[in-house]
Symmetry: C5
Subunit: 357 residues, 5 copies
């Protein structure tokens, strides 16, 4: 149990590292803003939540369960229970994992749960410890900040996927291999995964931004709408990546078929030229006693000349039918529309994310 | 006819093994909670239901029929008739079957029907016989418990499918065979089957959780909503498995095409090298009387040298064009996102399922 | 014109073989129940309907037209005009045809039209002639009986398709041929045809069962709902068959690709082994005067040994690379979920269909 | 500018070839029925419409524009502006073109525009000139007649497509060629084109038949509903044709793969039999001095016998493995459901189309 | 920062090159029409907008962000914020880029933002500088003019794509190459891109044309509806192009498979003819001492005759089985429906676009 609690009292003072008793008092005061964050939620945490906040058993079970929970929003009258998914981006590392946060949102409290330490939550904790800024505009804003930070990590991930996509497209054209197919399919599956995580979230954020719930104020609604727009954009970029992956796959398969075609042509050409000539040589290698040509003085040279002429004629003919050629590569002509998403990351940073604070 | 009936009288006493007359009296008392469970429903059971409960002919026919009934919910005013599908998980065995339960739900009675003995119903019967716990919170809760137990068995099945999927992916990459395709298609069909059983159920549970029916109380509605969430999760996992199966199929087909390509290259290489050389040997095997080279002292060795040099040159050239190589296997680079569903089963057990009792 | 008319007067007496005048009188009496059935509708029948019943020109034209009419329901205020599709199952024969019935339904009359003699209508005519049972519960019930009988014939057809599907799956695995593909595609097209006939009917029956039309009483609505459930089940089974056909197609294609692969491997193996050895034999068949090996006593045996050793080595190597093998067939491991629809027919009979009468 | 105008005055007299002044007077009289038809609409026609009828600039621009306009309906309060698509069937010729008509419909006027001379409009003009029948039932009926005539031309086109489909299916099975693929794809594209023209029209006709617009009377609404039903039928037939085209494509591809398979088998069989035997002959053609077999009296006959036996054994073995056979063609067994649309055209004629007049 | 501002005062006089102070005054006067256009929006522009117009922070951030924003419309009560996408067509050049404009629309002001200089905006600036025409009909008309100009550039782009499609179809049939596949896939991706940009815009324009927002007057609504119709048409043309690209792909793949088939047939034919004959020659090249045929006077000529006859017989047989032929090309028979979009561009010009001014 890693439980951290902050309480911003109505007079604007930030209390830290609250004990269980202080948490309960802050919760029951019904003023100010209480933020509790549980990392690596355990059974004990479940009991803690049920005991002090009186949350519904099923919601608490959802927090405690190690299973993946689909994004959703449940209205319990005086508070909301949300599950939101995003990306836990581990700095430099190449490992990117999906992450989920469960949030209880009431008029004067926010309780967030997550099974692993999340970079986005850590960043907000840091800001709160500095000067409590993210907590000063109310519970709905604090929840928005948590959700926005989680989802903002998705764009860099899609950017990284876009880089991989570039490399794959390069490889498909210049050096297609069996492992390229596997790369494409892995990429596609990752994109599908992001899509399946984001699609239900679109609905959740739409409901939040429509201010269907009285806990979300009018001002905050506009910010939730902004997160909704981000998800729409993410889905659009994801769709674009999926198209690219499908195209790369089609190009690869056609390229493999093409190479096989070339291989077969080489084989056919070689067999068509040399099998008949080998028959000619075989015939004059027969040991019949009476074979008049064998006695001719220029017979051997006539055969040599015939063989040489036949090879030259056949190669010319195959060349004319374009079965063989020095270089078969023509550069594709059509330039698609530009403005594919690039250099997304640089700008999307902490500056933007909390500029409203 | 295997009919069991339990009656929890308003004073909290549990009556067991009721006779037909006791059942009818309990039903007409309109208080307490009567639970009747019919296993391997026969024509006689149909008459029994019509005689004692006055259920509608068509609903009774639905119970008696050995046909598969799609999930549905019919509102008969004073009671509901539901058909719910799930998995009948037979312990250790590898056999997994779909199962269906038909439930009549009134304010004071629950009558459940199923054509085979079901593990999920047996577990609840056991709990009822212990201390009647599942019946103490009313008819809507008892029905929920039956439905939840049935559907909770689906997750371990999907977990098992996930294991099969792992093996198939392993096999597709390291040892693809014709039977692998059949495994993939069988797996995909099973996933589709679960999807088609679950999809209409989503609608049924949604209607139950929205409390469209007055028989479902507000408290129970939250629990039905929880089952709804389970189905959403099952569909999500199923979709993920379907993607994996599709990818495995694509990988397999591309791998088969690739191997054929390699086979063709070997053939073409061999033919391209040895057919021309065989012609050379054939020419010097001809029996012309006047073939000056045959008399040259080093003629034979010149031919041998030419043959050797030609083989080396051809192999080098094919090597450079990458038509042949020692090992063509490159490890795929891109690491997809983690957190695929794993270790689902351990936690999902009886503990969770009736923790609300 | 094959017109039959029955009139059940309010006193419960059944009049048969009514003349045109009697039909008109019964129709104008606005009590009892009049049933007119027209088989092989002609222009004259159209005039007859317009003259005696005053039906709308367009509806009458629809009846008379030999064209296929999509399932639909038109509300003409005091009566409904419905087009319903089903299967005309010709007993033993292998021929299965789609059939359609157009029904005018008023509070006191039912007029049904069909272009061919239908087994389902004949069965009801027989029941009416016996004791008028299907007519005793009102016009809405008579119309239900006609529709239900027509649609109940679809299930045995799907059962027959399921049998064909079994045979095809067997054939795909053990003896795939080009004609198998054609069988699969024909089956698939038949399934699609049933789907396209059933899908719009679902909507028609849904509207009838919702009692959107005052002519359909509350009691009859439940029965129409039952037909709706049948259609849902038919669609579910059809979807399952479509999946099976798609899988059979994929298995077949992969199996063809696999066999071609094996063929190519045999060819490559043979060429790779014997072409180089033929070169060796060709070289020692050259007629150079000075070839020292030819004079060696054991030269011939050395070559024989080399050839034998090379063949054994190559076969071993190809065996190790699994290019060739005695038996390549591994049995597929994964057992899909059971409970595919089987033995559907036996139970679905006249007993069930009119058990409500 | 080819402008024709007819005015049916309230006393039932038909005025023809109206001048611009007469048109304006008839339009402003607000009684009787004015029909103006513009063929090959020009800029001048646009000015004419704006000047005399006061139609909205954008609607007039839509009429004048040579661009394709999607089917739509705009409500301008006192009149409707509709764009309807159909087929302009040029009698005997094989050329079938899509056609569109723009219609302004007011309570007392109909103004139709089209860019080419249309057979369907010509037929109605002829009927009007005879006895003004199509104009006697009001503006909404005249508009219906125009739309119905345009759309009725689609069915014969689909019938023609169905004939082409029959030929293609025949060819796919008995004589598949590369051009067959192109035929299939062209047919499919035509079907798609009809679908894309008809699909939005379904919505337009649905709105017209629901009498959403007060200009459409109750009586006319039933006739618009009839056109709607036609479109539904057209879509159904089109879907059926699309399925057939897809099946033909799949059959063709599988047939090509099958033939390639047979080709490869012949090649492999020949190579497997003759390459090893050629090695045997090559070995005994070597010139070693000491080859004991060469001196054996029956050596040559032993080799001949071995070669013959080997060929017979190999052919038998390949025959048994079914690699080679005399005839590989088995007739497909499964008979699909009958009643594909055929002989559609005969009946659909002018008789039916204006039988309501 | 490239900021241009125009103010049309209520007395119809056009003020140009307003200073920041004048802009603010014009904005606060709440009469006349103020148009501000920002090109290459920077952070400073953001501050400028926030300072003088008081737009919401998030909308300003959206303007400033270099990221792609999905089309949308946000209602801020007294003004709307829209993002619209189109094509920035660079005259002669082959480069076509997507472009987006963000528009703030109030009753008396329009503020437009774009990251690059746009040809469509420049054209309107020019018209405004001439005689302020686009500004004389109010803010909603000015916004319409901007949006219409942006979207009208899409049609020529689709026309260009259609030309590329023509070339590709030509190439697929007469000279299919690997690069053709890449061209097809690039074209398809471009079409998808246009589709994904246009699809959400359809919704935006639909909302604008339904006059859901009070800022859009009834008169302007009809013009927004016209833009909506354009988008529908663009989507229809795009769908048609997508079908063509899919067909071209299928034709290409089938053509590649066909060529491979022909290659294999040539190879099989050659091998089947010459391998057995080579065996015959090899047999008579053996050095057995006792081979009676070798002594026959006509033996050699008998073998020559046999070889010749065998070659002729084999070629005839393969010819009869249609394995080889001079020309296999048959012209496709079926003529698809005409009226594919062509010559779209000529007419779509400035004339039409602002003809309402």
């Amino acid at each position: 149990m890693a439980f951290k609690a902050y309480y911003l009292s109505p007079d604007g003072y930030l209390h830290r590292d609250l004990s269980e008793k202080e948490v309960r008092e802050a919760f029951q005061s019904n003023q100010g803003l209480l933020w509790g964050d549980i990392c690596e939620t355990t059974e004990e945490d479940g009991e803690f939540l049920a005991r002090n906040f009186g949350f519904h058993r099923l919601a608490v079970e959802d927090c405690v369960s190690p299973l993946i929970r689909p994004p959703k929003i449940d209205d319990f009258g005086d508070h909301l229970f949300m599950v939101v998914h995003g990306i836990n981006h581990k700095g430099e590392s190449d490992i990117v994992e999906t992450a989920e946060v469960a949030i209880f949102l009431g008029p004067h409290f926010v309780v967030s749960n997550h099974n692993e330490s999340l970079y986005s939550v850590d960043a907000i904790v840091k800001l709160v410890e500095e000067d409590a800024r993210p907590m000063r505009r109310g519970a709905d804003f604090l929840a928005y900040t948590l959700i926005d930070a989680l989802i903002d990590n998705v764009l860099p991930t899609i950017d990284k996927m876009s880089d991989v996509s570039d490399q794959i497209e390069e490889e498909v054209i210049h050096n297609p291999q069996q492992s390229t197919i596997e790369d494409i399919l892995k990429l596609k599956r990752s994109i599908m995964r992001v899509h399946r995580v984001m699609a239900p979230q679109r609905e959740v954020l739409n409901r939040l931004s429509r201010r269907e719930f009285s806990i979300i104020g009018e001002e905050a609604g506009i910010f939730y709408r902004d997160v909704y727009d981000h998800i729409v954009r993410i889905e659009d970029l994801g769709q674009s990546l999926r198209d690219r992956a499908d195209n790369a796959l089609a190009t690869h398969l056609s390229s493999v078929a093409n190479r096989q075609n070339e291989t077969m042509r080489v084989l056919s050409t070689v067999a068509t030229i040399f099998l008949p000539l080998a028959l000619v040589a075989g015939i004059y290698g027969m040991n019949f006693e009476y074979m008049p040509e064998l006695g001719w003085h220029w017979g051997y040279f006539a055969v040599l000349t015939f063989v040489g002429a036949a090879i030259i004629a056949a190669v010319s003919w195959f060349w004319a039918r374009k079965w063989i050629a020095w270089s078969r590569r023509r550069v594709a002509r059509f330039r698609p529309f530009a403005v594919e998403p690039e250099k997304l990351v640089g700008y999307v940073g902490l500056v933007r994310k909390w500029s409203h604070l």
